[in-house]
């Protein structure tokens, strides 16, 4: 049903095609993919250069379609761009779309578009055209175009049409993002401040606030501070702005500081109506503002006004749960924080948090946690019977969480609740649903630990289910119970024997527990369990390959044989009570973190429950510093930036030493989808897992005492100082099947969580893969090369190498011999060629299936051999096979692997430019400066280490110096006898980010250097 778009009329007054509802059957977009034999690009090109407007438009549409599916249509750049000057606004939009995508690849031609932009921005006939020009121009992130941006920007910022102004205002932020100093030089920041106070249009004001807020974040709060006048303006605009504008304004309000309680009250009054908005984000952001200013009223004891605010929060928060599940999730995460601050905010509403069976899993989990949080003595019966229903649902994962929740409620609310919980758990165990029984037993064990000697009556029922237990945690739990109450169980030996029979097949955690349990029972009932203890010690010490188990076996053995009474006092000692609170972690993290999270309600920080400082965009930290360097107060700004990562992680580290975090590794495998959550301190699974390890953990601490006692004769204070944590860690190491990422993250110290992950993931990135021979790129497929496959990669140079090393693998994948093979390098920007002597190494003939892998030296020729190619690092390889020649697909030359062995002409290998000379050269080469920031690096260690690493990669270091609290390393590199790049590399104090200022006399090389530097730094 491909019907062409109705023909446009004359060239002067083109019309756009009518909208869908009135149009004839429209052309299917799929048509744009139709391919013909002759080559699609060729045909499009012909159409683009024709006169037929309709054909041109369709051709551009085809180009866009191809661009979207990932085909490279950059070769059509000039053909598309020349259609930019048209009065058909639809065609213009299409061309702009293309331009935004490819401008970076062809900046020289893109610059030609500037004229059209400027002209369009002055076209007073149509505001859409003016807005389109300024919007698109701002999106083209090419430095030279940004330089011209101020011409249309000046006009459009004062445009009579608000639609144009609201677009221009954001273009200021775009300019600031690329070139802040240019933005400042034109005075746009104060223009925006003016617009906020004077412009009458709500959307323009909102966008100006958005732009200023954003620029403010990137410049450490120097750009935009709310004052009384702007505050009142914003509170007025709040009523008129659209929903997105309201969010922007509320967001800005939430950062306003005042100590005046009247002002706080006024803000609350004006913001309070917003909680009735249909947009959930407006509601959440409004709640953020309200909580902030309510806190100020609280300080001044304005009880009544405070209650007026707080009483109105509950219902709107509850009704956020009738939004889409994704929005519900964010709301629930925030509600948990709010409940921490205002525990009474929604007590009466507990039923809105009851799970619907078709809720998404992540919503169910959040709801469960809130239910536990809201459970009280009053509603505990209702809560527990609800949890019981969940425990019988079909989703196994969910039933487990439900059972854990039963445990939490029991431990949190005290003995009465625990009694109800136990009876519910017993009901569930009687259903004999296997996984329910097992999880219930784990939970019951926790209740036993918290309330000892209360519920022994249920033990016989538990023991009835022994044969159905196959999960290690469940088996370990029941064994712990048996060991603990052995003297009251009639057939205790029989039960333990049953377990001993399958000792060899059990998991280590079960074996450890069984060993301890038998020893406990023996100490209580020596006559009955004598044979058993003999057997278990035998098994543990001789039949196991696990050293912890063997060690523990030996210790018990020696202890029992040397001093039974000491054994009794150690093994049967009173256990420390366990206490669990789902939000304990948040509590421990301290009020500062909670304040921070509440101040971020609705933001990512409040969803992850990690401090906002840990989410600071690392790439944005460094530039700020540089921006302000000239002003001499960088220490202030950097002090902030340098501190933040540390603050971000300290709670995590702090807690991981504490009891609740012991569960982290065990919980890790469950948490894979959300690594960040691992470090989030508010994870309900953690305490549960921690608690389930409680049994073994205590024995472990007993064990440590024991070590002090029997092995060294002195009381060994060092050993007893850290028994709990040490023991637990050991045990956890055994228990978790997965050597969890969390401990690794903790050891890497003071960088924020996501940075750690960055470094962890880096291991698998393609950049690293290139280092291995397997990382060679196939540049000629055997299908195309008539059986010959060619793969190449630049290898890491050895210190002796004068030039570069090219790894080459030739494979004959055909059934026939191949002869007449020759390889040469195509023209390239660096003048590279294969070393004449090495050409002979290339085998001329290959037998079927034969593979030749060799390393060739690459030499650099003189200026004439260098030919500019685009992109500059592109290299193709000429391949001859028999009578045919092929040109390979292009590879990118890894800049860091073709560097010369010295930075000084005629000097020996490893020579660097002397510091003084470097400085004068730096001053001379003013051109081609580029700033490049690399964040999320693995921790760099020390400056010396970085210097060494750079030297080893032939980035020769001339000088290191301190500039403020920054370490700046000056490096230079040469390629083929020519000085190529000078660069000052500043290390961020966190040692996880760098910023390089790059100067080069050789145009086009700076970006290559930048990415090479990034790869080198990442490999440290």
């Amino acid at each position: 049903m491909a019907v062409p778009i109705p023909t446009t009329s004359g060239p002067t007054s083109s019309r756009v095609s009518p909208p869908v509802r009135t149009s004839a059957p429209s052309m299917s977009g799929s048509k744009f993919f139709a391919t013909t034999k002759k080559g699609e690009i060729y045909e499009i090109k012909a159409d683009l250069n024709g006169d037929d407007r309709l054909k041109i438009k369709n051709a551009v549409k085809k180009v866009i379609a191809n661009m979207t599916i990932g085909k490279d249509v950059s070769s059509l750049f000039p053909d598309v761009i020349k259609n930019m000057q048209t009065d058909d606004i639809e065609l213009k939009k299409l061309v702009y779309l293309y331009l935004m995508n490819y401008a970076k690849s062809q900046p020289e031609i893109a610059i030609l578009a500037v004229n059209t932009f400027v002209k369009d921005s002055e076209d007073m006939s149509n505001p859409l055209l003016r807005a389109l020009a300024i919007r698109t121009m701002g999106c083209i992130r090419v430095d030279r175009i940004v330089d011209y941006l101020s011409i249309p920007l000046n006009k459009t910022l004062a445009d009579p049409d608000p639609y144009v102004r609201k677009t221009a205002v954001l273009a200021v932020a775009k300019m600031f993002d690329i070139n802040p100093s240019l933005c400042e030089a034109h005075g746009y920041i104060s223009t925006l401040r003016n617009i906020v106070t004077t412009d009458a249009n709500p959307m323009v004001v909102a966008n100006a606030v958005a732009a200023l807020t954003e620029m403010n974040e990137d410049s450490n709060g120097t750009v935009f501070q709310l004052n009384q006048a702007t505050l009142n303006k914003l509170l007025t605009v709040l009523n008129d702005a659209n929903e997105w504008g309201q969010i922007v304004i509320l967001d800005a309000l939430s950062k306003y500081t005042t100590t005046n309680p009247r002002e706080a009250e006024n803000i609350c009054e004006r913001v309070l109506p917003r909680v009735a908005h249909a947009n959930a984000a407006v509601v959440l952001t409004a709640v953020r503002v309200l909580l902030r200013f309510a806190a100020i009223m609280d300080k001044h004891g304005m009880e009544q006004q405070l209650r007026a605010v707080y009483s109105k929060l509950g219902p709107p928060l509850a009704s956020l749960l009738s939004n889409e599940p994704e929005v519900q999730y964010v709301a629930l995460r925030c509600i948990r924080l709010i409940l921490r601050r205002l525990p009474s905010a929604m007590t009466q509403d507990i039923r809105v948090f009851f799970c619907k069976y078709n809720d998404t899993p992540y919503v169910k989990r959040e709801k469960l946690d809130i239910i536990v949080r809201l459970a009280t003595e009053k509603n505990v019966a209702q809560v527990l019977s609800e949890l019981k229903e969940y425990a019988l649902e079909a989703d196994v994962e969910f039933t487990r969480h439900a059972l854990e929740a039963v445990g939490h409620v029991a431990l949190r609310l005290g003995p009465t609740a625990a009694e109800r919980a136990v009876s519910i758990l017993m009901e569930l165990i009687r259903t004999r649903v296997s996984h329910v029984v097992q999880d219930a037993i784990v939970v019951i064990k926790d209740i036993f630990r918290k309330y000892p000697n209360r519920y022994e009556l249920v033990i016989p029922t538990l023991c009835d289910n022994l044969e159905s237990l196959d999960e290690p945690m469940a088996r370990a739990s029941i064994i712990w119970i048996i060991g603990e109450y052995g003297e009251r169980i009639e057939n205790v030996t029989e039960l333990l024997t049953q377990f001993l029979d399958t000792f060899a097949e059990d998991a280590v955690v079960v074996q450890l527990q069984l060993l301890t349990a038998v020893v406990k029972v023996f100490l209580k009932l020596p006559s009955v369990a004598k044979d058993l203890v003999q057997r278990v010690l035998q098994l543990a010490t001789t039949a196991s390959e696990n050293s912890d188990l063997r060690d523990r076996g030996y210790i018990y053995w020696r202890l029992l044989s040397s001093d039974p009474s000491a054994a009794k006092s150690i093994v049967l000692s009173e256990r420390a009570p366990i206490s669990l609170d789902i939000d304990d972690d948040l509590h421990q993290a301290g009020p500062a973190l909670l304040d921070d999270l509440i101040a971020n309600i609705g933001n990512l920080a409040s969803v992850y429950h990690v401090s906002s400082a840990s989410l600071v965009d690392p790439d944005k930290v460094a530039p700020v510093v540089f921006l302000r360097q000239g002003e001499g107060d960088e220490s202030v700004s950097f002090g902030d930036a340098g501190q933040t990562p540390g603050e971000g992680v300290s709670p995590a580290v702090g807690v991981s030493a504490g009891p609740s975090a012991t569960g982290t590794p065990a919980a890790a495998p469950k948490e894979t989808p959300m690594l960040l959550d691992l470090l989030s301190l508010d994870d309900p699974v953690l305490p549960a897992a921690g608690s389930s390890t409680g049994g073994p953990a205590t024995t472990a601490s007993g064990l440590e005492d024991l070590l002090g006692l029997s092995i060294s004769s002195t009381p060994a204070p060092t050993a007893s100082k850290s028994p709990a944590s040490g023991g637990i860690d050991d045990l956890l190491g055994l228990m978790s099947s997965n050597p969890a990422p969390a401990p690794a993250a903790v050891t890497s110290g003071g960088s924020p969580p996501h940075m750690m992950m960055g470094s962890m993931m880096m291991g698998g990135s393609p950049v690293m893969a290139a280092a291995t021979p397997a990382g060679q790129t196939v540049v000629l497929q055997s299908q195309l090369g008539l059986g010959l496959e060619v793969a190449v990669a630049f290898e890491r140079q050895t210190p002796q190498d004068d030039g570069a090393r090219l790894g080459l693998t030739l494979t004959n994948r055909s059934g026939a011999p191949i002869d007449g093979v020759a390889i040469s390098l195509g023209k390239n920007s660096f003048g590279m060629a294969i070393h004449p002597a090495d050409r002979a190494l290339i085998p001329a003939a290959l037998a079927p299936g034969q593979q030749a892998a060799l390393t060739l030296r690459v030499v650099f020729g003189d200026a004439e051999s260098r030919q500019r190619v685009e992109p500059a690092d592109q290299l193709t390889i000429g391949i001859r096979s028999g009578q045919r020649t092929f040109t390979s697909t292009a590879i990118s030359v890894p800049f860091e692997r073709i560097l010369a062995p010295t930075a000084v002409a005629d000097a020996g290998p490893g020579a660097a430019i002397p510091a003084g000379q470097y400085a004068s050269m730096w001053a001379q080469v003013a051109a081609g400066e580029l700033a490049h920031t690399v964040g999320q690096l693995p921790h760099l260690g020390s400056v010396a280490r970085v210097v060494e690493h750079l030297n080893a990669h032939r980035f020769f270091v001339s000088n290191t110096q301190k500039s403020g609290n920054l370490d700046v390393i000056s490096v230079s590199v040469r390629i083929g006898g020519v000085l190529v790049v000078l660069s000052d590399i500043a290390l961020h104090p966190s040692m996880t980010a760098i910023k390089a200022l790059i100067r080069t006399p050789a145009g086009g090389v700076a970006p290559l250097f930048a990415s090479a530097l990034e790869r080198v730094m990442r490999s440290i």
């Binding site: 007054s13 019309r15 756009v16 009518p18 909208p19 509802r21 149009s23 429209s26 052309m27 977009g29 744009f32 866009i64 979207t68 009065d87 058909d88 639809e90 939009k93 299409l94 779309l97 006939s125 149509n126 859409l128 807005a131 919007r135 999106c139 639609y163 609201k166 954001l170 249009n201 807020t213 009523n239 702005a241 997105w244 969010i247 922007v248 959930a280 952001t285 709107p316 509850a318 009738s322 889409e324 994704e326 999730y329 964010v330 039923r351 809105v352 009851f354 619907k356 069976y357 899993p361 079909a394 259903t431 649903v433 990512l604 600071v616 690392p618 989808p673 959300m674 960055g758 993931m761």
Partner: protein, 465 residues
Amino acid sequence: MVLSAVFILDIKGKVLISRNYRGDINMSAIDNFVPLVVDAEDEPPPVVASDGLHFIYIKHNDLYLVGITRKNTNAAAQLVYLHKFRAILEDYFRTLREESIRDNFVLIYELLDETMDFGHPQFTEPSILKEYITQESNALDIITGAVGLGSGIPSQASTPGGPRPPQAVTNAVSWRPEGIRHRKNEVYLDVVESINLLANPDGTVLRSEIIGAIKMRVQLSGMPELRLGLNDKVLFESTGRSTKAKAVELEDVKFHQCVRLSRFDTDRTISFIPPDGEFDLMTYRLNTPVRPLIWVESIVETYSGTRVAYLIKLTGQFRRRSTANSIEVAIPVPDDADTPKFRPAVGSARYAPERGAIIWTIKLLPGGRETALRCSFGLPSVRRAEDIAKRPRPIGVKFEIPYFTTSGLQVRYLKVVERSGYQALPWVRYITKNGDYDIRMAEAVAVAANSESALNNAAAFAEGN
């Protein structure tokens, strides 16, 4: 509050279309999304992090809409934006599926640019967008006749020099263009209350709430000012009105953005300039306990683990003058149920294996009336006790009861004031229907094959009724 880029992916995580707003991320970063979410075993939360980037996503039909950011952005706002964008696409294409994306690249690029600039959400009102984003769209199904509502909206497509941004985009009234003309000025107002209810088999109501919505269809010319009066308890009390008439406590109300919130906050007046066409003026939620309007009682018996019999009794527990329409009861049966047989006393029943349920439909059920369905099926294998103990899904009920609101909410007046002074007629309808209306199944009772079952007795009783 920004996104760096927005992607639309197919169900396997392949990029269909993307827009890079800020150029501060590598667009290949989306590759991390696939292992993180698409390949994840259970559904990960809608906000996930990897490598310093944050993925904010929603899933819709066979599509993922994903935003990426590297800042501590307003996650709530971005998720709402993605949902609004989804709604806009649905408005343009009617159904939103992978093909609708593939067929409409150019239009989607335009919409992405118009609704978000430099990562900041800008404007998401579909009816206004349609006025000036006029690229042809390819709806999946052929549209016959005029679409939607706004025959009164003047189209700008034919303006010389191309379309212009409607004033509404940047106005304080961003949802209504000027110059609308209708031959007949009418307002339709539907008060729709959905009942969310979860009850145990013994009749205890675990959760019940009323989610109400006032839905409007507005066909009014010009820029009319509307004022809506409800029997709002707070308003009645504050004005000292005698509360003889039943008043409803509207504690938790959410309004369409056209309603002046500050006005409502000060004097409880609901005043607004409405959009043209259909929209939800307000939604409200009442947590009051609701007696189940339609009660479903179930008796489940198993015969030596190979045969199961249900008796389902349905009672209309609402006033006798009313009638429930289009009732559909979904009674869950095990997936491997063998040859289910059923006998409804009224209506019809069918086995829907794709839903794992027997669907019993009844056209009309007058208030106070009771009816029953008996059903039995075999099980191919003997069940262990534990499988039978597993709670099956609850029985879901769908229904509609017209001319009736559970909360008692009433529209007292709707005033329309417009400069030209025309008379407009408001039409008001009330309807109560099901929301998430679930009643849990009774636990199975094991019965020896030849003994007299309670079910038979009960069934006889029900049929005798």
